[in-house]
Symmetry: C2
């Protein structure tokens, strides 16, 4: 497995693989890898012959008061994990090469970017769409793999790829959870033991939503209220940022749960903001 | 020469050429071709093995009060001209394929888009950057050729390609002029005979600027005033939209003409808004 920092070097190595007729898989990450990421790398391996993992903490997707500075960075550890999961190349560009002086171009994906996390993180999805467009042009993958944990991000990327005609297939891998149900996230490491103990409340609230819908109670307002009540009870250290019940494709709020509904939520603990979701088919 | 409307068909034909090791040249146009476009097609031929010309009147780059509806469209004539200039493929997509329902993604190139034409055509360069990003992803050219007549557009595209890491070389071809000096433009066809007779005033004013600078008078304010005076005298039917004296790379206004200065202007006649420019080295 190669570790590459330079963009021209990346292009050269990927082009050599393409010349050999090998399809290119791509898993963009911000590092701080966990089993969720590794499952995406393995998924990319099944979908392509040569797997590139990017590790880049993208300043453009962090708000001014967010955790850019403290976001965990450990390239050695991450590269070892990539190798163990079967990646062929780790691409870890420098911020000054990704956003050189006099950088001025941004990609915005309207509508999908506005609700849910977009409402509490203005500019976040603009930063995501921009860096993903850039990475797609650097790597030129045939397949790119994203995680369902970031459901809104996955929807934004699908729309980006479709709207800007990127010649890439978007694949979304399932959420990987801790044994107690907490969705894996690099930000879980920020949690205090007391917060960590309460964090499965997100998963429990989503299970409650599934159960309510299965038992015929499909009114979104009621489902949300029950979820909020459960979180208040199980996670008194957390504060609900949002609970969204939306069309899984358009992310538009719906008043009655139907098939293909996304139930998504964000909870702010003092040490970290966590998100989770479930799709009701 | 092939004429193709479907995006998948385009991709297939271009991929077949790439597989044969042929480099791909690309000339995006809005049709209504004239000798200026043809010179770009010939330039693309010298820089690549297989030349794709797109013909697409891009709704996203027209303002609500602009000439989208009346913009001349004649695919047969345009295709014949492309063939005569040596194009290999004409790509003429349908608007509903380029901007399908639920289209939401836009590319903005800040700073460069704001002055000159950007000031009087808000949203214009956002529409240009978006469609060019899309076309780059559809065609995946090695080289793309643009005209210096649209100097600000060329600067925006260079920035777009650099910032979003498109693997394409941008080449800019020189302005082609009528015998009396009028820069060739599809919109010249809108001019009445009286307007047409006055239209070379733009070129004359640019020549005056060059001459003033060569004779040591480099103060931008003075140069602009002399240019405006000449246009008022030679083109009483026209109204100056702007005269800009800017750094050719950053498009930032400068107070004293130095090397690599762009002198650009736009004049509104009742029937058409014309632009022209000269670079002073």
């Amino acid at each position: 497995m190669r570790i590459v920092k330079s963009i021209p070097q990346l292009r050269k190595l990927v082009a050599a693989q393409r010349t050999k007729g090998r399809s290119i898989g791509f898993v963009p990450t911000m590092g701080a890898l966990h089993e969720g990421h590794l499952s995406l790398i393995r998924l990319a391996q099944r979908k392509s012959k040569y797997v590139v993992v990017s590790i880049f903490v993208n300043p453009a997707q962090f708000g001014p008061k967010e955790d850019l500075a403290k976001y965990p960075r450990d390239l050695k550890r991450d590269a070892a994990l990539c190798r163990s999961a079967g990646a062929d190349l780790v691409f870890a560009p420098r911020a000054r090469d990704v956003y050189p002086d006099n950088y001025h171009t941004y990609v915005t994906v309207g509508q999908l970017s506005e609700g849910l996390c977009g409402a509490s993180r203005p500019g976040h999805f603009k930063g995501v769409a921009t860096v993903v467009a850039k990475l797609f042009n650097m790597v030129q993958p045939d397949v790119a793999v994203f995680g369902q944990k970031d459901a809104q991000q996955a929807a934004v990327i699908r729309q980006l790829a479709r709207d800007l005609d990127f010649p890439v297939r978007i694949v979304v891998g399932p959420i990987v959870r801790e044994r107690d149900g907490l969705a894996m996230s690099s930000r879980n490491a920020y949690l205090t033991p007391a917060e960590r103990a309460q964090a499965p409340a997100l998963h429990h609230a989503l299970n409650l939503a599934k159960w309510l819908v299965r038992s015929g109670r499909r009114e979104s307002g009621m489902v949300k209220r029950e979820m909020m009540r459960m979180i208040a009870r199980e996670a008194p250290l957390g504060e609900v940022d949002y609970v969204g019940i939306v069309n899984n494709r358009t992310l538009e709020p719906i008043t009655k749960v139907t098939s293909d509904t996304l139930v998504a939520l964000a909870v702010k603990f003092p040490s970290a903001r966590l998100i989770d979701n479930v799709v009701i088919r």
